[in-house]
Amino acid sequence: MRLAYYPGCSLETSAREYNHSVQLVGRLMGVEFHEIPDWSCCGASAGHTTSRLLALALAARNLALAEEMGLDVVAPCAACYQRLALARHELAANPSLWERVNGITGRPFNGTIRVKSIVEMLLSAGTEKIKSLVVRPLRGLKVAAYYGCLLVRPRAIQIDDAENPQVMEKILRAAGAEVVDWTHKTECCGASLAVSNEEVAIPIISRILKAALAAGANCIACACPLCHFNLDIRQAKAKRFLANYRPLPVLYLTQLLGLAMGQGERELGLEAHFVETRSILKMVG
């Protein structure tokens, strides 16, 4: 499978390990990535909260670039995925808006390509394919699959059910992990407020951690650098709200898959996390 690759700002810097693990696992699964030359920021939340046109234009430029390559585009960052997919949907639904946006970007997007999330990319080969690549099943791991708000909402672009999605679980099970049924998998982590109003974000984060701990998880899997940053780095601050706290490593879905497929912790960037991941490695062996 050939895909245009849209890393997004975080994957270049604060989420480099996600970038590496996506590329590693993707290649193992036979995906050929072609990074979009000159991609620009999708606008993230600042874009659409400022101007609808701006949000659409920033996303549309990147879509147009991918279209010039003639490839569907994968955006591993859930926020980028949502922005790009939603822009595509909104443009397609409103031809006159589409025309306006094309005029603003000066780089017409014609709607001939699709946007894929990392989960869709991994599942498009089927769970059998994943199973066939597993050399070190993730036995002993009890994973809380965390979707956050960006992968399953709004309806137009959701990759699975908004209340109890199962696609990440499917992948994790294929990798030999046990998944826990938990209650906060599609709650928002408050990442967009974390910088500006940390005191608002911390209780939100702690609610999620609490639910994962209560479900007996020993790690969290996610597919979004913003969620990761929040749940991992801010875990230290959130723990004061938690009575029965124990450290809960937060890993990218692709890092877990990479481990199962025999990749080393260094290649997968496991050491780059704030919450120690060694416990995970021990369990997997």
């Binding site: 908004a162 209340e163 109890n164």
Partner: protein
């Protein structure tokens, strides 16, 4: 030559004050076929009518035109006038020169007069094309079919039977009683549901005029009002009820346990079972899907233990044909399947989130817990119970747009029951509105408030487990705050929807459904218990959500309608119905497709063609079913099907006259 009389009415000054009535009469006298044109102050008055009668006799009139008020008012009056004069009542045509002329054009008397003349010309043109029509009569089979054996069906059946008519009651479950038999107490009186329901069930079973088919379904309905022929499928019970005494040995010994439908999954039953101890008939059926013998070919325990040899594994379905004159639909309701759409409430994964019907079983002394309120997960007594209203109701996104009407009251009842049975327990009711329109309903609700129930105004966004409790996160819009309650038990007031299969049954019977699959009444105000097909009546929740008193009232109303139909051996049918010219009909049957009443059927006619005898299919109208809409006449290319009273010839003549 037709001899037409034109009678122009002044209606006091109503018409005469605007329209130059004498001039209209004068103009009419020159229209083709008119032999008499005259006017009178009040044509509908006794002297006015007498004037018409006399004129008909004197001038040997063969058609009558009355120019007066709208035909919707006095058409029948003047038809009777014609009848009095010995003329066929359908040889009358009315020109509406009051509502649609004098009143509408008061400020332009000249133009009004001109229009009146034109309208009279139209009426004369149509009159000259009128033919005598005769109301046909249809024999009536004085036996009714009631579909559904819940409280609605039982009430209707008893009322009709008490009036002296035969009734066939068909129920698809093994017992009659329906939902009401499952309930604990009824609001607002809190009397025991079983205590008033089971005597009705027994009365139905013992009534000499009621034939009861349980575990049976209606398979086919043919015919029309007064003359239906229905086919009923008696599903194989695998038990010979003529031999069975209902002793209960078989279901005691049966080794297979399955969740009980009657207990809403909170209890179990055997594979050979009666639904509940007071079931009518109180004899078992074998659920073949779960029976070991039918599934694996081994077991036969029930056969071995049965003292009367009533078990019959070979029994097959039976088809029974019955002729009836009327049908009462009383198919009731089911609960909306909330588990399929409400992910935020757990998609049915949490055992302590139950429906209100499950709660009824939980609190029922004959239920799985013997009437103790215990949470399903661990059998503990709940300390905090949360009720959530409007689950699936008033929710266009996930459920139904309509209000289910009964939830406010039964939730108040449930809240009251919890507070009564579990002193010290806390009760929270999340609601959007509290709707208590009904006798003594508001009082009941207020009592529940005084009992200590906390009513929280707002919807619940999420229910999730934390430890062994449930967290209910909602809103109190009165406080303007997000709220959370810990709950041991959550009861969802799920929407009332038509019972499963209601829409298919409607198609089979030939009535229509609304967008929610509730059966449509013939008129929302004036004919609320009749279906749009003659001879079919509606009772209870199949027509829309209803509580017990309303259901019983509608059932009795439907029964009264049936009795009115059965009051004579024959019924008169409106003569303004469609008619097929079989010579012109070439049998394409497009007319059949557009007929909303299934009044058109193909028939075979034989005729001679080029010396050979051939058989040919043509359409034929059942005048008992036809309501005279005329949709078929337009679907018919060669004009082979025509509508009496509004025929092609007549309408074309009217158009011609109006365009002069």
């Amino acid at each position: 030559m037709k001899r037409i009389g034109v009678f122009v009415c002044w209606c006091g000054t109503n018409i005469g004050g605007v329209v130059d009535v004498p001039q209209v009469a004068k103009a009419a006298s020159s229209f083709p076929g008119v032999v008499l044109a005259t006017d009178y102050k009040y044509m509908c008055s006794e002297p006015g009518q007498e004037l018409i009668v006399q004129a008909i006799r004197e001038h040997r009139l063969t058609r009558v035109v009355v120019a007066a008020c709208t035909p919707r008012l006095h058409e029948n009056t003047f038809r009777k006038t014609l009848e009095r004069a010995g003329l066929n009542p359908y040889l009358l045509e009315i020109a509406n020169i009051r509502e649609q002329c004098a009143w509408a054009h008061q400020k332009q008397p000249g133009r009004a007069t001109e229009k009146a003349i034109s309208l009279v010309r139209r009426a004369v043109a149509k009159a000259s094309r009128l033919e005598p029509l005769f109301a046909s009569t249809i024999p009536v089979t004085r036996k009714a079919l009631v579909i559904g054996g819940g409280i609605a069906g039982m009430q209707a059946a008893l009322d009709i039977a008490d009036a002296g008519h035969q009734v066939i009651l068909v129920e698809r479950e093994p017992t009659i009683g329906g939902k009401m038999a499952m309930l604990d107490k009824t609001f607002p009186t809190l009397d025991c549901s079983a205590c008033i329901c089971t005597p009705k069930m027994v009365a139905v079973a013992q009534h000499p005029s009621i034939t009861l088919y349980t575990y049976a379904e209606v398979e086919k309905v043919e015919g029309y009002v007064g003359n239906f022929e229905v086919t009923i499928r008696q599903k194989a019970r695998s038990v010979d009820h003529t031999k069975c005494t209902g002793c209960g040995t078989c279901w005691e010994k049966c080794p297979t346990r399955v969740p009980s439908e009657f207990e809403q999954g909170l209890g179990t039953r055997k594979a050979i079972y009666v639904s509940f101890p007071q079931a009518v008939p109180n004899k078992p059926v074998i659920d073949r899907r779960h029976c070991r013998y039918f599934a694996a070919g081994k077991c036969r325990v029930c056969e071995k233990v049965c003292p009367t040899g009533a078990i019959d594994y070979q029994q097959g379905d039976q088809l029974i044909k019955e002729k009836v004159g009327a049908i009462v639909m009383a198919t009731g309701y089911d609960l909306f399947e909330w588990e399929k759409v409400y992910g935020e409430y757990g998609y049915g994964r949490y055992p302590n989130v139950i429906t209100s019907l499950q709660f009824e079983r939980l609190i029922n002394a004959s239920g799985p817990t013997g009437g103790k309120i215990l949470r399903p997960s661990d059998g503990k007594e709940p300390q905090s119970v949360v009720f959530v209203k409007c689950v699936g109701s008033r929710d266009p996104a996930k459920g139904k747009e309509y209000c289910s009407r009964i939830c406010c009251m039964y939730t108040a009842k449930h809240a009251h029951q919890v507070l009564e049975k579990l002193p010290g327990a806390r009760v929270y009711v999340f609601y959007m509105d509290v709707r208590t329109a009904g006798k003594a309903y508001e009082e009941f609700y207020l009592r529940t408030l005084q009992d200590g129930a906390h009513y929280i105004r707002g919807r619940v966004s999420k229910i999730y487990p934390e430890g062994d409790r449930l967290i209910v996160r909602g809103v109190d819009t009165l406080l303007g705050r997000q709220v959370e309650v810990g709950a041991d038990l959550v009861v969802l007031a799920t929407a009332v929807v038509p019972s499963r299969g209601a829409a298919e049954l409607a198609r089979l019977v030939g009535i229509s459904c609304d967008q929610n699959d509730f059966y449509t009444e013939a008129h929302p105000k004036l004919r609320p218990v009749e279906a749009n097909t003659a001879g079919i009546f509606l009772a209870g929740a199949c027509q829309g959500p209803k509580d017990i008193p309303d259901t019983v009232a509608q059932a009795s109303a439907a029964a009264a309608k049936v009795c009115a139909l059965f009051s004579r051996e024959e019924m008169a049918a409106e003569p303004t119905v469609a008619q097929v010219n079989q010579f012109l009909c070439y049998g394409c049957l497009e007319c059949q497709k557009v007929c909303p009443y299934r009044a058109i059927e193909p028939v075979t006619v034989s005729e001679n063609a080029a010396g050979k005898k051939i058989e040919r299919t043509v359409a034929s109208v059942n005048s008992g079913l036809c309501q005279g809409c005329g949709a078929c006449t337009v679907a018919c290319k060669p004009g082979a099907i025509n509508l009496k009273g509004f025929s092609n010839e007549q309408v074309l003549a009217e158009v011609d006259a109006l365009c002069l």
